[in-house]
């Protein structure tokens, strides 16, 4: 990196609607953060610095879901400026908890319940959606929030021009590495089999079931998981709801298919 900043990749980190947990996690990388700032040219990172520039980018990391008209415009602009866009965090990848109202009418009804008939002057609200509802996304880095190890390895690979190598298997695999007892066998509803790995099976390590906060694993057989849980005696609505808590639109197709199933 001695050849000067021209060689460095230009990177922007952006926050849409969410809890700011992914940006905070990047900040919590304390020691590595300094190396990150040395290795790349961080053009924009609102949480960490004040001299932010909105110019051409090599890579844009985007956290949060799209929940206002202004965010949508901002996102489209980021896409235009960036060669590569990475969705970071469950909200950005799947819409997160706020995308649980899949039905537009449902969302409108609930919006009214919270804000009444007040007209919002500053920013037109939109039903929360993951960023790929509006732009092409190159890579998805899930997590609620994203994990430090997976983030740093992804960041490194992108810096070197390689695609990230993410776990393509469910939490169960990590859980076995950690030699935990299977909670499903104990009759506890655990979403490990359908949830993306990367967290290190942290909840099960604490004797608690996986809540599915990293979103659905790419090749998960959701229907089979559903039937398995039904066989274990769990309630139809409860399973359905639980599977959708964090996954937003990631579960939309599956939940649509379920409509024909008997209760």
């Amino acid at each position: 990196m001695e050849k000067g900043s021209k060689e460095k990749l230009k990177i922007g980190i952006y926050e849409l609607t969410g809890c700011a947990g992914d940006a905070l996690l990047i900040l919590d990388c304390e020691q590595e953060l300094i190396d990150m700032f040395k290795a790349a040219d961080i053009q924009s990172f609102l949480m960490a610095k004040s001299d932010n520039i909105d110019g051409e980018l090599d890579v844009a990391l985007v956290e949060g879901s799209v929940s206002t008209e202004k965010e949508k415009e901002e996102l489209v602009d980021i896409r235009k400026r960036a060669k590569t866009v990475v969705a970071i965090g469950t909200c950005s990848c799947f819409g997160g908890i706020q995308a649980a109202f899949l039905d537009k009418k449902d969302w409108e009804k609930n919006f009214k319940k919270v804000y009444g008939d007040n007209k919002m002057t500053h920013n037109k609200p939109l039903q929360s959606k993951p960023i790929d509802a509006y732009i092409k996304v190159d890579y998805y880095l899930p997590g609620c929030p994203i994990g430090k190890e997976q983030f740093l390895s992804t960041f490194n690979r992108i810096l070197r021009g390689h695609p990230p190598e993410l776990y393509r298997f469910p939490v169960c695999v990590e859980c076995k590495w950690n030699e935990n007892d299977c909670l499903l066998n104990k009759g506890i509803l655990c979403l490990g089999p359908i949830t993306r790995a990367g967290c290190g099976s942290i909840c099960i390590n604490h004797n608690l079931p996986c809540v599915g906060c990293w979103g659905p694993v790419e090749e998960a057989n959701l229907t089979s998981e559903f039937h398995l849980l039904r066989e274990k005696g769990f309630d139809y609505d409860f399973i359905k709801k639980k599977m959708a808590d964090f996954s937003g639109t990631g579960m939309a197709d599956f939940l649509g298919e379920l409509k024909g199933e008997k209760k």
């Binding site: 700011a20 996690l25 949060g64 929030p145 390590n205 906060c213």
Partner: protein, 579 residues
């Protein structure tokens, strides 16, 4: 007319900003906005199990995630009649202290301090305060470590659950935390001196009401079952709505709160102001040494209060751990209740946090969450207004932007901003016309003419009202008729109220200014006896829907002649109202 705004206050649930609109010599509007999109968390949670809610609601904010977790657990356990063992209560307190240390030290050293020692950011500041910045980072990491130990990971850990914890730390781990806490004490004491001795500017200063949790047994602390106010009143947690009165404002997706129609403040400063006398040990000594009456009037002292609380936390940790190691790890308490109602209140680092739920048929049927930043929003706007107007009076307009930045940051709203994105904009001339149109669009206003017709231009307000009456405009009153019509008694703020008056804003004669009435209240510029009367009548009513349309007089000498520029102004206003 100018607009001074600090947009993109970074670091909250996304982003927000503050802006002040300046019309000549007068600040006519201050707005604190959260641009963050709506998430409808209070509705998302309905229909889920209590356990699912405990997973979901802390996702409101990563920065205060454990305070949210603590509050939702207390609420759910109240609703479901779950009693946790002493070890669980102690471990939760420890976890919460970890968040306090992490959040306060990040805010003080990385966000607040650079402003006071003249550096643009913490990294630049490190050149002069190398050691402080490094140890402060270690202190923050220590807070993070406690949070990770208690919750399972840095952010959104799921280890704390209804009825207890999934897993407790080993005794070795606890002893290590205790020894680390003791090890930090010299630096913690230095932190208190540093932040209590900073030179806080005396603008803005004004009285407000402070609110915080009232911990049991007359102790200092960050949780309780009652809210205590600086007025001495206490409010049971179930009655929290009598304090918060949340309402929606059109410029923000965060709701605002008012107590008895007045803004109030929450946070470290509220806690130290209300409970400081209860501090013991080194924290008690430091409180006695540094506390002074300015702490009750100046929000910038929130920084000093946070430093005192770091000291409190470091003194408290060894005591908690000494007790914790005596107990075996308790199992998670099971519950059978399927119906219930419960509220949980805790102190997030930035103030009172309230979670309230109703459970029917084992599912959540109602959720209400009131966050500290929502409660502080009104006071943030008010103090920024006071600061802006005072600086403007002193001819220091160039300082307004940075001062507002300082005020907002002192409140450490989840948007304690590291960004300095203030900008100064010239707004169009005669901006009052657009504002008047905006008010009229909402509902047809009532008008009251105020003034003394025997003092030349001072009669402008009455003159204007009389002319309007002649034109047949409805709901126009004179100051002298108020008693008769009792309009202010019946005034319910369903419709806007506009007072006409000659106001000395030190502008060119005839200049018209339209501003919210509460921005006029504490001004001596107004010459009439009517104002204290009006302010008294309206104190507990909806001040935000009342406005003052002021015309700059040329002269208020004895006589009945109205000057030319003021007469022209009256005609202009008549024309606008007629339209």
């Amino acid at each position: 007319m100018k607009k001074i705004s600090v947009e993109h206050l970074a670091r909250v649930e996304g982003n927000g900003g503050i802006s002040a609109t300046i019309d000549g010599n007068v600040v006519t509007d201050v707005k604190f906005s959260i641009y963050e999109g709506p998430r409808l968390v209070e509705r998302l949670t309905v229909g889920k199990t209590p356990e699912e809610d405990v997973n979901i609601v802390p996702r409101i904010c990563a920065i205060c995630s454990l305070s949210h977790k603590y509050a939702v657990l207390r609420a759910m356990e109240n609703a479901l009649s779950v009693k946790v063992s002493p070890k669980v209560a102690l471990f939760r307190e420890l976890m919460h202290l970890g968040e306090m240390i992490e959040s306060h030290s990040l805010h003080l050293y990385y966000l607040a301090l650079p402003d006071y020692v003249g550096f643009p950011n913490a990294i630049a500041m490190a050149a002069k305060f190398d050691l402080e910045v490094k140890i402060a980072l270690e202190m923050k990491e220590f807070g993070n470590h406690i949070m990770k130990t208690a919750s399972g990971r840095y952010i959104h850990g799921e280890n704390p659950v209804i009825g207890g914890f999934g897993k407790f730390p080993s005794i070795e781990e606890l002893i290590w935390i205790k020894s680390r806490a003791v090890h930090f004490m010299p630096f913690v004491l230095k932190t208190v001196s540093l932040f209590c001795e900073l030179d806080y500017p005396d603008c803005p200063e004004d009285d407000t009401v402070f609110a915080c949790c009232n911990p049991d047994q007359n102790k200092y602390g960050f949780a309780g079952d009652e809210i205590i106010l600086s007025t001495g009143e206490t409010i049971n947690k179930e009655d929290y709505k009598s304090l918060t009165n949340e309402f929606v404002v059109s410029h923000s997706y965060a709701k605002h709160s008012r107590y008895k129609r007045e803004p109030y403040s929450v946070g470290a400063l509220a806690r130290v102001n209300n409970l400081g006398e209860r501090l013991k040990g080194e924290a008690g000594k430091m409180y006695k040494k540094y506390f002074n009456p300015r702490w009750k009037r100046n929000p910038l002292f929130n920084n000093a209060a946070q430093a005192l609380e770091i000291l409190y936390a470091f003194e408290r940790i060894p005591k908690i751990i000494d007790k914790m190691v005596k107990f075996p790890d308790p199992p998670i308490v099971k519950y059978t209740k399927k119906e219930g109602k419960g509220t949980g209140i805790v102190e997030a680092p930035r103030g009172l946090l309230i979670h309230s739920y109703e459970i029917s048929g084992s599912l959540v049927s109602y959720t209400d969450i009131v966050t500290p930043t929502a409660q502080n929003a009104e006071d943030i706007e008010r103090y920024c207004y006071i600061a802006a107007q005072k600086l403007l009076d002193k001819g220091e307009e160039n300082k307004i932007r940075d001062r507002m930045d300082l005020v907002v940051r002192a409140y450490d709203p989840c948007i304690s901003c590291s960004a300095h994105m203030a900008e100064v904009k010239k707004a169009p001339a005669e901006d009052w016309k657009a504002k008047l149109a905006e008010i009229k669009e909402k509902a047809s206003p009532m008008f009251v003419g105020v003034g003394n017709r025997n003092r030349s231009d001072d009669g402008a307000g009455v003159e204007l009202a009389l002319e309007l009456k002649k034109l047949g405009v409805c709901d126009v009153y004179l100051e002298s008729e108020l008693e008769k019509h009792k309009i202010l008694w019946e005034y319910k703020a369903l419709r806007p109220l506009i007072l006409f008056d000659a106001v000395d804003f030190k502008e060119a004669p005839g200049k018209v200014t339209l501003l919210p009435l509460n921005y006029v209240m504490d001004k001596t510029r107004l010459s009439h006896k009517i104002l204290p009367f009006i302010s008294m009548q309206m104190r507990h009513k909806h001040l935000k829907n009342a406005y003052m349309l002021g015309i700059q007089p040329e002269s208020i000498e004895e006589g009945t002649k109205i000057s030319r520029p003021v007469r022209q102004a009256i005609l202009k206003v008549l024309k606008e109202i007629k339209n």
